[in-house]
């Protein structure tokens, strides 16, 4: 059993076993030598025909498996999902039962949209960032939260980290993260925890942080934040709200 040297060279080339130089020189020769080109073409066609035949057989096998799967699905469509179906029915019954016997629990934690002053209030910052903040507010009010978020991230990148505008952007960023359909409580908590309590909007940020902790099931942390607000003399309208909520949570 002997192969021609040319056949061996072509197969070695097609297997990617030639060095870069050898490959380049082989390809150059192919373009200049019609006989070599024809021989290479034969090898390619042979490989192509074998590949396509093998692939057709494989596809036929796959269609058989598809058919098997199809018939399984037709015969036992319920078996696959029966646990889910039973769980759903039980859940519905439990909810109906509970509604019959219990009054719905009051919603304690609800994320508040940042106040009008925070969203659009007087801008104490340089003109360029004030305009950007305004653009963010417009996007937020148009419920275009994704683009509003981009604007607030921009502000955070460009403003001094301790500045008021950066703190307001953090609160707004958390607000964007928690709007309908975009709930990402973890990210919201991360943003709000960065707002210092001493800043102009620190109390509002802390209130919303407490709400997010509550929504996230971290009630103890929520209580801690509320206690700080309730204990702080300059918490304004938030002081009483925090105390009322604490009373409800502690009941």
């Amino acid at each position: 059993m002997h192969s021609e040297p040319e056949d061996i060279l072509i197969e070695t080339y097609l297997d990617g076993q030639l060095s870069d130089e050898e490959r380049a020189s082989f390809e150059k020769e192919v373009t200049e030598n019609p006989a070599l080109q024809a021989a290479l073409n034969k090898h390619l066609l042979l490989r192509g025909a074998l590949w396509e035949t093998a692939q057709e057989r494989l596809s036929a096998k796959f269609r058989e498996w598809d058919a098997e799967e199809g018939s399984e699905e037709k015969v036992v469509p319920f078996r696959r999902y029966w646990t889910l179906a039973v769980a759903a029915v039980v859940l519905v019954l439990v909810v109906i039962g509970l509604n019959q016997w219990l009054k719905p629990a009051p919603v304690l934690f609800a994320y508040a949209t940042p106040s009008e002053t925070l969203r659009r209030g007087p801008n104490e910052v340089a003109d360029s960032l004030a305009a950007v903040f305004e653009a963010g507010a417009e996007r937020f009010e148009a419920k275009d939260y994704a683009n509003a978020q981009k604007i607030y991230v921009d502000i955070l990148t460009n403003a001094s980290p301790e500045s008021e505008v950066a703190n307001r952007a953090l609160v707004m960023l958390a607000a964007c993260e928690t709007q309908e359909g975009r709930v990402n409580v973890g990210e919201g908590i991360l943003s709000l925890s960065r707002v210092p309590f001493s800043s102009s909007y620190g109390v509002e940020a802390k209130w919303n942080l407490a709400m997010l902790y509550g929504l996230n099931g971290e009630v103890e942390k929520a209580k801690q934040e509320l206690e700080i607000i309730a204990a702080y003399p300059n918490s304004g309208k938030w002081k009483q709200k925090a105390q009322d909520l604490l009373d409800q949570v502690n009941q």
């Binding site: 059993m1 097609l14 297997d15 390619l44 066609l45 590949w51 796959f62 498996w65």
Partner: protein
């Protein structure tokens, strides 16, 4: 439930599939069936991402599975990615091929599938060598060299070992299969 979490497939499961594909016929069949069934969601992705028909997306999926299987058999599958990632990469390339085929009306075989060891520049160099009419002609010739000859050539491409081919086709041993393969290739090349 596991099928909903395929993106988290455990590499140990990959090991089982790779071993299966490299195993005997029954093991190979089982392994490829597992792979085929557990990633069928790609067909839907191909339809959604590239606007392919169900038939075209299925075809791309078949091609991708065939190519991945061949890469495993030829020991070219490096373990730097999960099988699912590799399959998805090949599948998306095959979807693009199908779109190209529709756009250019050129229906041929992907060079990447028949000469996978070649660098991309060389694959590009070869891309116009195979035409559909010539390919169909060789496939017809493949039918003319005799059933056993055809089987010897195709089964090798499918990844069967010479021992298995000998058992299935009734030859006395793998060396006979090897020598017959040479004769069959020559027979086919002479007809071309």
């Amino acid at each position: 439930m596991a099928q909903f979490f395929n993106f988290r497939r455990n590499p140990y499961e990959d090991d089982d599939i790779i071993q299966g594909i490299r195993g005997n016929m029954a093991q190979q069949n089982r392994a490829i069936k597992t792979l085929f069934k557990s990633h069928k969601g790609y067909i839907h992705k191909g339809r959604k991402k590239y606007g392919l028909s169900e038939e075209d997306a299925r075809f791309a999926y078949d091609l991708a599975l065939g190519q991945l299987m061949k890469e495993i058999l030829d020991d070219r599958f490096r373990r730097d990615s999960l099988l699912s990632t590799m399959l998805m990469t090949i599948f998306l390339r095959r979807c693009i091929d199908i779109l190209d085929k529709k756009r250019t009306n050129l229906d041929t075989v992907p060079i990447e599938a028949i000469a996978p060891g070649l660098p991309q520049t060389s694959q590009h160099f070869l891309k116009d060598f195979i035409t559909r009419d010539k390919l169909d002609h060789v496939k017809k010739l493949l039918e003319k060299i005799g059933e056993k000859c055809k089987e010897i050539l195709v089964m090798k491409w499918e990844g069967y070992s010479d021992i298995e081919i000998a058992e299935l086709l009734g030859y006395s041993g793998p060396s006979v299969v090897n020598s017959r393969r040479y004769t069959c290739r020559k027979k086919l090349k002479d007809l071309m």
